[in-house]
């Protein structure tokens, strides 16, 4: 186990094609970090740079006090779980897990102990003789994790490991991953585009966009105080409403809007779409104007989503909404940065 630090890490393929624009972060020993972002934001590239599968153009990556910039992947003492599992198809589950240990020249007994232990943890004992093709997606995923565990590395790297699983299995594997991390306490970096995975797994997360770290922080902190409009719009489902007001952007989460009498409305919305989800109902609409009836120039077409209790009667037409000013966020429309009150 080890601490990892990224110091102004940069990656460019050619002089005018830069994909990582300087990411810095100190990861504590044993921390579970999620790198979250949309496709093409550079999150996988960043992870692969830590793994040593991509060269580092600028900055430094330090694992356990060692600068690893010029080390081969095998010398970095990391293990990686790939999105497509990358199991060796011609080897049995046992051999898949033992492969790395054999290369490192461990004694047969030691290899067997480690593989058996990992198989125990991951409930793979009865599959050890099988080939990957004879297993389901979830089982393969577990073998991939087993292959990482047996190595007892300083850092685990996960590259969207759950995205090939169906929804139900994903929830289950998420739980298993959490349990595994509690049990082993190995520093982990986990890349995903799924905000639910990020929120539930991360101790801290990095939200990335276009090769930059938009915000680094604990999930709830990121949710409660998004640092930029990108983070505000990326996290939360539906995401935060951003309404132009007085030359700034007013951010309000859908669940912080509540229906009210027309006289006390702070927002009036023309309803476009109603999605009853059972537990609550999400109403989408656009702003029609100021509560006092005056047309609001720049905000007249802003779209709004509101998460209302299921018993709130939602119907087409106009909907009066109010919010607690304490829940409001302000952003600068040009830079997208948060304006502290």
């Amino acid at each position: 186990m080890a601490a990892v630090s990224l110091k102004d890490v940069r990656k460019s393929y050619t002089s005018d094609l830069q994909v990582i624009h300087g990411v810095s972060m100190e990861i504590k020993d044993g921390e579970f970090i999620v790198i979250l972002g949309p496709s093409g934001c550079g999150k996988s590239t960043l992870l692969r740079m830590v793994a040593g599968l991509e060269t580092i153009t600028g900055g430094e990556i330090v694992i356990g006090g060692r600068v690893v910039n010029n080390l081969e992947p095998k010398d970095r003492d990391i293990a990686m779980v790939f999105q497509n599992y990358a199991l060796y198809p011609h080897m049995s589950v046992y051999d898949n897990m033992a492969y790395g240990l054999r290369i490192r020249g461990l004694a047969k007994v030691e290899i067997d102990t480690r593989v058996q232990k990992a198989a125990e943890i991951l409930e793979l004992k009865k599959f050890l003789g099988r080939k990957p093709r004879e297993m389901s997606g979830g089982q393969r995923q577990r073998v991939a994790m087993g292959r990482a565990i047996v190595r007892e590395p300083q850092v685990f790297l996960f590259d969207e490991p759950l995205s090939n699983l169906d929804a139900k299995l994903r929830v289950q594997m998420r739980g298993e991953l959490q349990a595994l991390h509690r049990r082993l306490g190995t520093t982990s970096l986990f890349v995903t585009h799924d905000q639910v995975e990020a929120m539930t797994l991360a101790q801290r997360m990095i939200v990335m966009n276009a090769g930059r770290a938009e915000q680094i922080g604990a999930p709830l902190e990121v949710y409660a105080r998004p640092a930029t409009t990108f983070v505000a719009g990326f996290i939360g489902s539906p995401p935060m409403n951003l309404i132009p007001k007085e030359g700034r952007l007013l951010g309000i989460r859908p669940e912080h809007l509540e229906p009210c009498a027309e006289s006390e409305a702070m927002l009036t919305v023309a309803v476009d779409l109603i999605e009853p989800l059972g537990a609550d109902t999400i109403v989408y609409g656009h702003i029609t104007g100021d509560p006092d009836g005056k047309p609001d120039g720049d905000g007249s077409s802003a779209r709004v989503a509101a998460r209302l209790p299921a018993n709130a009667v939602a119907q087409a037409g106009k909907l009066a909404l109010r919010y607690d000013p304490a829940n409001v966020h302000w952003y600068d429309p040009q830079s997208g940065k948060r304006i502290e009150q």
Partner: protein, 293 residues
């Protein structure tokens, strides 16, 4: 889901396959049966009298030291052609797989030899290695190798092997390259993280995935060496010197057309037919099954 076309008419499907069947029967089955029939017969030197002799042609064949020698030569020749051909093309394919710049040109050039007719390829190599005027002969002389494939049996063998391998490399190369490109990159990366160096990665991860292809190519190359190298041999050594490069298929031709021993030659081709049937069965049995995915 399999989609089947159902014909209401009873004769239409037969009519549709009839041309194909006719071609197969006239050009494949008929000659094959003819050969099988001839193999039981003996003709006199002038072709005036034909006599049914049963298995005597075969008995003579397997008691003929020349035929047994030809068998050994064929075995040696085909193993050399298949093994060298596969090894070299695998090497070329792994290198081509790593090339990023100009990959297309490189790959295209590697495929060209396949378009050259066997006889032309052979003449090309025969010129390069010609005892008196060959460039390579000259180079070999400089380093002290006395080269004359017309007189030296093993040199003649080397020449036909080189020419045959050179022809076949493109074919093997294409298969290997296609398979190499289908090996997921993440597998290699996983092996790199597991600590395997490039050589180890190749032999423990990539090569096992290529194993079915390699086996397939082994059979195809054997068949190639057995039957399709006739042109190469006829254009260079014509089976010589002293039968040193007389592989089975060349002996069939030599005994049948040059020595006019139609019965013996037919018996040889029946033996060859059995060999090719066996090879095909092996190919289908094992290659189809031994695929990893």
């Amino acid at each position: 889901m399999e989609k089947r076309v159902v014909f209401r008419s009873a004769w239409l499907p037969y009519a549709l396959v009839a041309p194909q069947l006719a071609i197969t029967i006239v050009f494949f089955f008929w000659p094959a049966f003819q050969a099988a029939w001839f193999s039981f017969q003996l003709q006199d030197a002038f072709g005036l009298k034909t006599e049914f002799v049963g298995l005597r042609n075969f008995a003579e064949l397997f008691n003929d030291p020349h035929y047994l020698k030809s068998f050994k030569i064929t075995a040696l020749f085909s193993v050399l052609v298949a093994v060298i051909g596969i090894a070299v093309s695998l090497l070329l394919a792994t290198m081509a797989d790593r090339v990023l710049r100009g990959a297309l040109a490189y790959k295209t050039l590697l495929i060209w030899p396949y378009a050259v007719a066997p006889a032309v390829a052979a003449v090309l190599w025969a010129f390069l290695f010609a005892p008196s005027v060959g460039i390579i002969t000259f180079a070999l002389k400089q380093i002290g190798v006395e080269w004359n494939y017309v007189l030296q049996g093993d040199q003649a063998m080397a020449l036909v092997v080189i020419a045959s391998v050179w022809k076949q490399i493109s074919y093997n190369f294409l298969f290997f390259l296609a398979w190499l490109q289908s090996v997921p990159k993440s597998l290699i990366e996983a092996a790199a993280i597991d600590g395997a160096g490039p050589m180890r990665r190749f032999w423990t991860v990539v090569f096992p995935l290529l194993a079915p292809t390699t086996f397939f190519l082994l059979v195809v190359n054997m068949v190639y060496a057995f039957f399709e190298t006739f042109g190469v041999i006829d254009a260079t050594t014509q089976g010589g010197p002293a039968g040193a490069t007389q592989i089975l298929v060349y002996k069939v031709y030599h005994d049948g057309f040059k020595s006019q021993d139609l019965g013996g030659s037919s018996a040889q081709s029946v033996v060859l037919m059995i060999i090719v049937i066996a090879l095909t069965v092996i190919q289908f049995r094992f290659v189809e099954r031994k695929v990893h995915y």
